[in-house]
Symmetry: C2
Subunit: 275 residues, 2 copies
């Protein structure tokens, strides 16, 4: 079993150094409490809402930044532990990205750039075009998405087909969008995704005024195992990577082998402008 902590944090607007400390503290604390995989929210290094590209550029960091070394140093305290956290990336191409880093004790393992930008994120960021990475770790194969990516079954399917046991998703869910089922709508989307993909899903949300603090962990069968809510520092749950590898639903019926990829070309057709 893999013990997951989906940590809720309220990073300080523009406070790069303060947020580096805040996140490293959160990682250390979660690992001390037994977490194998620690997930941190979207854009956790910069905090606040980025209003425009100028503001974002002032606090963007390259993937070589010290904050990732701090997370890696924290990981040395617990064998095999992994951190996935969102950050505002200054790309080597001069663009800004809404990215997530995967870090373990050996350092930076992968960087993913959000491919589906939410609403005004498009004012600030360029959209990534690489598929979600699936990183082989001591605690299973971790696929990484960011926030709004989770709403696109094509993208979650892409990560699941690449072998992810767990989808780790730094998110930032605005409190203005409550779900009809009572919890944040994003939790219901996470559960629906887990059920259809048969993969565990963990989302780390922002906390503080304006955010749902809806961090959650869903099993590979779509069961909501943990949901944090306001006032809690993290959602905690154990998930079994093996459960995510079982795509057999009956007798000879296997959800992966029974796909008909030769029929799915409508998913890659250019968008029609007629709607």
């Amino acid at each position: 079993m893999t013990r997951i902590a989906a940590c809720q944090l309220a990073p300080v607007p523009d406070g790069l150094a303060a947020n580096a400390e805040l996140t490293a503290d959160a990682v250390r604390e979660a690992l001390a409490q037994g977490a194998d995989v620690v997930i941190l929210p979207q854009l956790v290094t910069t905090g606040g809402v980025l209003e425009d590209a100028e503001q974002a550029r002032a606090v963007a960091v390259a993937s070589g930044h010290g904050v990732f070394a701090a997370w890696a140093a924290a990981c040395t305290a617990r064998q095999g532990s992994v951190v996935v956290g969102g950050f505002c990336e200054a790309g080597d191409d001069g663009q800004l990205y809404n990215s997530a880093a995967v870090v373990d004790a050996t350092g930076l393992r992968a960087v993913y750039r959000c491919a589906h930008l939410w609403d005004r994120e498009r004012v600030v960021f360029a959209a990534g075009s690489a598929p979600p990475p699936v990183v082989d770790t001591a605690h299973g194969r971790i696929g990484v998405l960011v926030n709004y990516d989770l709403r696109f079954p094509e993208w979650t399917r892409t990560a699941a087909l690449a072998g992810a046991d767990l989808l780790a998703v730094p998110v930032a869910w605005p409190a203005a969008q409550p779900g009809e089922g009572g919890g944040p709508d994003g939790q219901l989307v996470a559960a629906a995704t887990a059920r259809l993909e048969r993969v565990a899903v963990a989302c780390a949300d922002r906390s503080g005024p304006g955010w749902t603090a809806g961090s959650c962990i869903v099993s590979a069968s779509g069961q909501l195992l943990a949901a944090a809510g306001p006032g809690r520092s993290a959602a905690w749950a154990d998930v079994d990577p093996e459960a995510s590898r079982d795509k057999l639903v009956a007798g000879s019926s296997d959800l992966w082998l029974d796909r008909r990829p030769e029929l799915y070309d409508r998913l890659t057709a250019p968008r029609s402008t007629s709607g």
Copy 2:
């Protein structure tokens, strides 16, 4: 609003004439009770479990068969009404298909051949290769899938992108597969699909020993509006076709316009044999 009846039936094994009467009666009764759209189970014309192709061939019908004329005749009793039902199709190519017919008072509107065959269905049937039809009716645009198709997000997405307001799904859910959430697992899959695609989903299940009698109707927001269960003749609910056309989740974020089809080519890649 569209009033849907997802009818549960226990067709007689091999009883083609008896099942034609059973289904026409069910349609008439549902329409008399106010249904706009009536959905009938998978393979409702033939009943039982088809053990091999010989048995199936003896009861297979072509799309010109009188059972569809009987459904169409029933539809004349209620303006604009539509029937979707599963049948064992004798294709003009000599193959057998696990098909669904869409019928209204004007006659047969469309035939769909199941593309994802469940378990031993593959012993009997050839898999279809055409996309799910989306039929424009007086009660919205009805997309048609059959049974195991519902488990493939690529296929439900294909129907949703083609403009379906409602996914009408003749199913046959074996009682041996209860869902962890209490109801049939298929209901949870239907709800997950509705939530991610923002389209209403209605499944008509088989009743009688060995089947879950799990007919259900889910709203475009993923709410389970009705679930029949054993002893009930149908699940009933009203759904709003307009709700399925609203893909806007916030400000400028539209689930259809924000897709990145140019990135989804991994979904159409041939299956890897290495698993």
